[in-house]
Symmetry: C3
């Protein structure tokens, strides 16, 4: 069994931006060496979403119109109603919190035979609703390595020095990449 | 540890259809032999949803009315607004993409003592919004087998020929069912 | 590898109540001994939600206004439309089912170096929409223990009596806490 953790950083130019991240997630999965398992992709800031849908520009604009209609910028009922209570704190991003709730902030992707097991049109998107600053998405892989790699790890248990060395390498790498 | 992957196929008669799939998911879990873990149930086509709620026909119709109100067929603002941009590609299913986003496209169910660990009224549904064609749901189980099965697998590591044979059987079965 | 399962119970005084549960989830994770993995937090009753967002009281009221606007108490179109079909069964909580669908009923939190791996403002909330009765949230942890604990477990496999004893303790504890 193996887990592997990495973080994707974003700092968008515009306040709202939708970014396709399928390839970046696939790269983390490849680096993990996990053959069978799952990967969690989760926005760590509460005004951004992660969702799976089509890489079609018209649809992406439709989605942006849709979340604006259902979670308007000024307040729950738009300009005809009162402003978000959250703005009394000095924030101006009440809508961004609701948009994240509407689209969801995380997905789990299955990993089968070492690859993301996605349907033909499934693409992973990071949806930023309050950008222009550094924000993170955690990508956490969990599952089984190839038979050979699992056997190598099991052999290692017989040799505590090897295990200690590998663990130290993992810690030194700066990523929480633990192999057991 | 074990993972087990299967796919449920759907080809609905109507464009929109809601189908209870709890029993099918439970069957995949039983086949997996996993005693403690999780199962991911995820729609692989981007105009279908998977959700957990009540198996009450009135409520199901309420849900269908609700998603139609919030994600109307013609466009974000219904017939009073412009048509979905996505329809400029020749597609007519912009609403189905949004309905999937509203209900969510996946759930994770806990497996405890070999069974789906669901509340008394929790039922898993496949919600098709653009049917009449073959579409898939991936069901991926991950977790631990019974103590006896885990010990049997560990014994197997001592015998590389057995392991090779079991792996080959797994590959030959057509399902990516890997035991480590 | 280890899994650990626990349940949080709620019995709210008011019909609708939002409760921050981050610390309770963190406590279950600590009890599990899992160092690297994931924890599923899932509402087992179909009129409650679990979501991750800000612990700011104004925003919480904004969220409550928002779900009431999008999933009104009386019916899909509010008092101007017909009542929920679900109410013909004698229930009065059609809106609570939809509110759960809107906010989502579960989250997966990553566990890194033994702690919940959350962003600076991420807080886990239980959102009750039909309370005043006992309801549950399942918290299921899955992942790897520390190297030392994993090695101890592996040593145990060499001694079937120890394993049997530990399994029995686990079963006797009333929690489905299985160590393999």
């Amino acid at each position: 069994m193996k887990t592997h953790t990495d973080y994707l950083w974003f700092n968008t130019e515009k306040r709202q931006e939708f970014i396709r991240i399928t390839d970046k997630v696939a790269q983390v999965v490849e680096e993990s060496g996990v053959e069978e398992g799952m990967v969690l992709v989760s926005a760590m800031h509460i005004t951004a979403a992660v969702y799976v849908n089509d890489a079609e520009n018209g649809l992406i604009e439709d989605i942006q119109d849709w979340v604006e209609k259902l979670a308007p910028t000024y307040g729950v009922y738009g300009r005809e109603g009162k402003e978000y209570r959250h703005h009394q704190t000095g924030e101006d991003n009440g809508d961004a919190h609701l948009k994240r709730l509407l689209l969801g902030h995380q997905v789990i992707l299955p990993i089968t035979k070492g690859k993301l097991d996605l349907g033909p049109w499934e693409q992973v998107y990071y949806a930023e609703f309050d950008g222009k600053r550094r924000k993170r998405v955690v990508v956490k892989v969990m599952g089984m390595q190839s038979i050979d790699d699992e056997m190598e790890d099991l052999d290692m248990y017989q040799n505590k020095d090897n295990l200690q060395k590998k663990l130290q390498e993992s810690l030194d790498s700066g990523l929480s990449d633990l192999i057991i």
